[in-house]
Point group: C2
Chain length 459, copies 2
């Protein structure tokens, strides 16, 4: 930046906290040096301070919050992950709580208090002024993970007959505008939204132009009780930057902005990924015991399916005793099936989430997956068939391996696409535990077909 810049405060480039900075912060906390701590945190963006807090030990976190005192950055709190948020909120002093209502939008306050125990939530709400408290309490009446929780109450509306000049005069005179907003929402006298005008269109037009002539072509209304993943989908699909939220009577109750939707979009993609891998809602800051507890059920389900696979194998003890090569080779067919099934499953789960897989193309996608399974099944049948011949010198063993491979990759394709489609049809999350269902199918089919064919053709 040039030295003679007219920009009074030089804007800061946000920066991730380095390992050195983390160490310096910890040293300040250790020595109880409040001024040094504030000096170190001051230049950081709220989101980066939140990351820093998530990366240090719970004890240090607690001491840091106390030492930070009423210089605490309330924005930082709304950037915390849920686990750390719920750990820190009960620690806040009345002076720290005081600043929440003053500096945060209602959606951020809702995020901070929604999972707190009743008494702590009460304490936080009491620190708010009446209007803010009423707004937060009303948002809390909407279901968790709904648009009503995500929206902020602070918004700018105008009667539908206003002009550019009128809204500009109104905004200049108002001392209660939201910190950042992108649209002015036009409403009829009963507070039903009838259009939205982007600020850039207001600025580009003369004072006498009616706002009603400048509205976006699309008005995407969000119902307060809509699930947040639908909201995120709509923002992403329609490139919206903000959207009015209405109650059951169609009356305007708030606005959702794209930064909230972006967070949800990432959260939802991450949830799919975790569910496919059999990981619950754990966070990187959770303690050992909690993670053990969260992962146990998924492993337990996997154990059940592994035992089922073992039961299938035990049907063929005679064959295994007769030809030990079967025990050596049988995991290959099962493993390839599991892998191919996971490929299909992942593609199907994502396509369902992004609504690229619908009733219109379902038949075609299922057929395609079956053909892909057949294609790769044939390719690998040749390869493992050759392997059986070369390794064990038995052409018939090669035939058994090859046939089992084709059949199991077909089973993998069918399981990988039909299981998520079936779960979706039943109203369940197509990602939930479907990985385990798919590998159960490919293990059972893999072992059964390979050992069964071996029994028929080799013995």
């Amino acid at each position: 930046m040039s030295e003679d810049s007219l920009v009074t405060e030089s804007p800061r480039q946000p920066q991730l906290p380095s390992a050195e900075l983390v160490d310096a912060v910890l040293a300040a906390v250790e020595s109880g040096d409040a001024a040094r701590l504030a000096g170190l945190l001051e230049p950081l963006h709220a989101a980066d301070i939140a990351d820093l807090l998530e990366q240090i030990e719970p004890d240090s976190r607690e001491r840091l919050i106390t030492l930070w005192g009423d210089r605490i950055d309330p924005e930082m709190l709304s950037e915390l992950s849920e686990g750390v948020r719920d750990e820190i909120m009960p620690l806040l002093s009345p002076a720290q709580l005081q600043r929440l209502g003053d500096e945060l939008e209602t959606d951020d306050v809702v995020y901070l208090v929604e999972d707190l125990d009743e008494p702590v939530q009460e304490k936080v709400l009491e620190a708010l002024d009446d209007a803010d408290r009423a707004a937060v309490e009303s948002s809390l009446t909407y279901p968790e993970d709904s648009a009503g929780r995500l929206m902020q109450r602070e918004l700018v509306t105008a009667p539908e007959h206003w002009t550019v000049g009128e809204i500009i005069d109104y905004m200049r005179a108002s001392d209660d505008l939201p910190e950042l907003f992108y649209d002015v929402i036009l409403t009829d006298p009963r507070m039903h939204p009838v259009g939205a005008v982007a600020l850039s269109r207001i600025m580009a037009n003369r004072r006498e132009v009616p706002l009603a002539s400048l509205t976006h072509e699309d008005l995407h209304l969000i119902r307060a009780d809509q699930p947040q993943e639908e909201v995120a989908y709509a923002f992403n699909q329609y490139h919206m930057v903000s959207a009015p939220v209405v109650d059951a009577d169609g009356r305007l109750v708030g606005v959702i902005t794209i930064d909230d939707a972006m967070g949800v979009l990432e959260e939802e993609a991450e949830e799919d990924m975790r569910r496919l891998a059999g990981v619950g809602d754990e966070e990187i800051t959770d303690r050992v015991w909690e993670i053990v507890r969260l992962r146990f059920p998924w492993l337990a389900i996997n154990l059940v399916t592994a035992v089922i696979a073992s039961l299938v194998i035990s049907l063929f003890e005679e064959e295994l005793r007769a030809v030990v090569a079967l025990a050596v080779l049988m995991p290959i067919v099962a493993s390839m099936g599991g892998n191919a099934g996971t490929q299909t499953l992942t593609v199907a789960v994502r396509a369902l989430a992004t609504r690229d897989l619908t009733a219109s193309n379902m038949d075609r996608v299922v057929l395609r997956e079956v053909l892909v399974g057949l294609g790769n099944g044939l390719a690998f049948a040749v390869i493992v068939g050759a392997l059986g011949v070369v390794w064990f010198g038995s052409p018939m063993l090669g035939v058994v391996l090859g046939l089992a491979m084709v059949i199991n990759l077909l089973a993998a394709a069918l399981a990988g696409i039909l299981i998520p489609l079936g779960l979706e049809k039943l109203g369940a999350d197509p990602a939930l535990a479907s990985g385990t269902f798919v590998t159960t199918v490919t293990d059972v089919v893999g072992f059964f077909v390979f050992l069964g064919l071996a029994g028929m053709l080799l013995l």
Copy 2:
């Protein structure tokens, strides 16, 4: 909406195309009824038309584009997935191409042409006017998936000494403003950005207020050669809505808006998910042969690791011959290890992507994963130990199963966390093929330890 609404054109609620609508569109295409086709597509949002095109067969797609003619919606083209886009672009008539430059921002045109063959790309660029063509060509000089490809050239700047009144007068007089924008970028005389002012802050202040006093606290500059995932990360982390893009000399060359960043964020999360599952860059519209080809290499890698596991098993042919129960039970230990390793791996890959796993907390997270592995290892050791006793009536077999389980879940934890950390350290994508590496470790360790212990303790 009330009937006496002043909003001239009633804004439409975007809506996903239903299966019936898709059928109606296909019927119109079949019968060559251009007016009916235009009538059906007209009420749809460009993004929804793009989805519709992706869901029908390639032949119908081609006929639809031809029939749509110069009433085509250019926005729709920029909403297409890459595969369908590259299939449609060469089909466009000169009249259709003409409309691209008139109606799209430069970033959208760049997206449309970046992967086209030279002659087709040339044809599209020729249809643009000189300024647009120069802008698009200059964007194409930046690397693929970089900020320079993502940015649009259309932006609003002001000299740093301007006031609110001056920028409002300038914008009202200009007939060349971008369709939507959120910030005015302040620049020094050499076009270095020195600050950005949100439109909402301009609107909230009086004409004589200097813009320099209204800038955002943070100015996050993006370098044109930065990878797009860094851009998406910054938008999500810092809740930005638009950001100036600068060249190597720090001069302003464009602007990136949050809707572009949101698309990238979803793409990147999806890429991690696909890579963990061993799926490449395929799309739901790809043909069978292409998908077979894209998935084959991952399955081939899996085959190699499965063969390695088989080689490990073959070391213990003697034990397997002696105790056939070993063949029945051995997949259990391997399968549980694979599952636990995938859990750890998924958490680690996501934490690296969201930068929640850093040098500051790495040691603690590794230790935590090992303890989680130990915790669940002990829990399942007891369960499978009991299973060995109950099923096969052999306490020693139970001990072997239990010990192997603990050791393999520890190996799973170490592999699940150290493999992605190692890949990251080497500058590789931590998601890439790491699932296969992890299951190789858990298969090899699982079979080796279980059969090895059985050899020592049972025979």
